[in-house]
């Protein structure tokens, strides 16, 4: 018999079937990131103001979400070793031993190719190409290169998480416009203060894993300064859709107030540098940043839906 087959048996200390449950495979897709992708891609799609069959729209969002999940899965496959060294990620399916790295690689690659082909077949190949580029950017540019190489890893890598609104818009129109670019910019500028707020608390984890996150390389004070700068930048960027005339004054008010809250919390974190107060300030900013992005995109969603609903309700004499 061949050497390969012999080795296969010798190096198999466990049964040659998967040890993972269906839930473990689901966890490989980073479901919480997928929720953000579904939400922002939907907003981008509605921004197009062009009719799209609801079934095609739903299937497009599903394809984009699965593409994002696939990139999360490939990220976990590549970073399984360092995930095992960090408390926050040590219970993920690969470091915990539930799923073998090869299974995750096959799962991620299958879903990547499948989601891109599906999106291309039901919408257009520009959107499919953009989805493929996003997966490539997250897995190769961010995970394999930037994350382990530069302190600016999540600043540049954050672009991957910011592309979904543009892909959603492109699925409908085959192009991009300034409005969706502004949506991209909101997520892009939001990512550094969001991640660094968490990295401040988990800096020992990142140091142990050898990941050059800003708090590990530049220290807590510089990280707090950068968080404050990005939060100050984020407030006007968050208001930009209204300033460019794409939304109403209601959105302007919501984005101004929520942007102000982000700046205040970033300043609070800047002042509190040690002990439990600093830790609480980090978590508060991290949690609020998630709420901030949700509120902004929910407001953008309502800005698109409400004008569509009013004529329908008037037509049925409901208002």
């Amino acid at each position: 018999m061949s050497l390969v087959t012999d080795r296969l048996y010798e190096e198999a200390p466990r049964p040659l079937v998967s040890q993972g449950t269906a839930r473990d495979f689901y966890e490989l897709l980073k479901p919480r990131v997928m929720q953000l992708v579904i939400f922002t891609a939907l907003v981008g799609m509605l921004t197009a103001h062009e009719p799209i069959n609801p079934i095609i729209g739903f299937a497009s969002i599903l394809a984009i979400a699965i593409g994002a999940g696939a990139s999360g899965c490939l990220n976990m496959w590549y970073d399984a070793t360092i995930d095992g060294l960090m408390e926050r990620t040590s219970k993920r399916p690969i470091p915990s031993g539930a799923i073998a790295p090869g299974e995750a690689l096959a799962f991620g690659m299958t879903l990547s190719v499948g989601s891109v082909l599906f999106l291309g077949l039901i919408t257009n190949w520009y959107a499919a190409g953009f989805l493929a580029f996003t997966i490539f950017f997250y897995v190769v540019v961010y995970t394999m290169w930037l994350k382990h190489w530069t302190v600016q890893n999540i600043v540049i890598g954050g672009a991957a998480g910011a592309f979904p609104p543009m892909i959603g818009y492109m699925a409908v129109t085959g192009s991009v416009n300034l409005e969706t670019f502004l949506q991209f910019l909101i997520i892009f500028i939001w990512t550094p203060p969001h991640f660094w707020a968490l990295a401040l608390v988990k800096s020992k984890d990142y140091a142990r894993a050898g990941v050059p996150m800003l708090p590990v390389i530049a220290g807590g004070i510089e990280t707090r300064r950068q968080i404050l700068i990005y939060s100050i930048l984020l407030a006007p960027v968050g208001m930009a859709p209204a300033l460019f005339g794409y939304t109403s004054l209601v959105y302007l008010a919501i984005s101004a107030v929520s942007g102000g809250i982000m700046i205040w919390l970033a300043y609070d974190l800047y002042r509190k540098r040690e002990g439990d107060a600093a830790r609480k300030a980090s978590y508060r900013l991290f949690g609020t940043s998630i709420l901030y992005l949700f509120v902004l995109f929910a407001a953008l969603l309502l800005e698109e839906i409400v004008p569509m609903m009013i004529p329908m309700l008037i037509g049925r004499n409901l208002i």
């Binding site: 010798e10 049964p15 079937v17 449950t21």
Partner: protein
């Protein structure tokens, strides 16, 4: 030629078998859902052309 016997492959425990069964069920459901999705999407893509064709 002397062929060495293979080391014994570990047998599946009842827990492994339960996991395998649950995975098979989940995979079956996903594949079934994909069949339905592809069918509905195909009909949606065809749209009115389903009726406007020569018979």
């Amino acid at each position: 030629m002397n062929e060495q016997p293979y080391p014994e492959v570990p047998k599946l425990t009842p827990e492994d078998l339960a996991k395998q069964k649950a995975r098979s069920k989940a995979l079956g459901l996903v594949l079934g859902a994909l069949v339905i999705l592809f069918f509905i999407v195909t009909i949606a893509k065809l749209g009115g052309n389903v009726w406007n064709r020569e018979l």
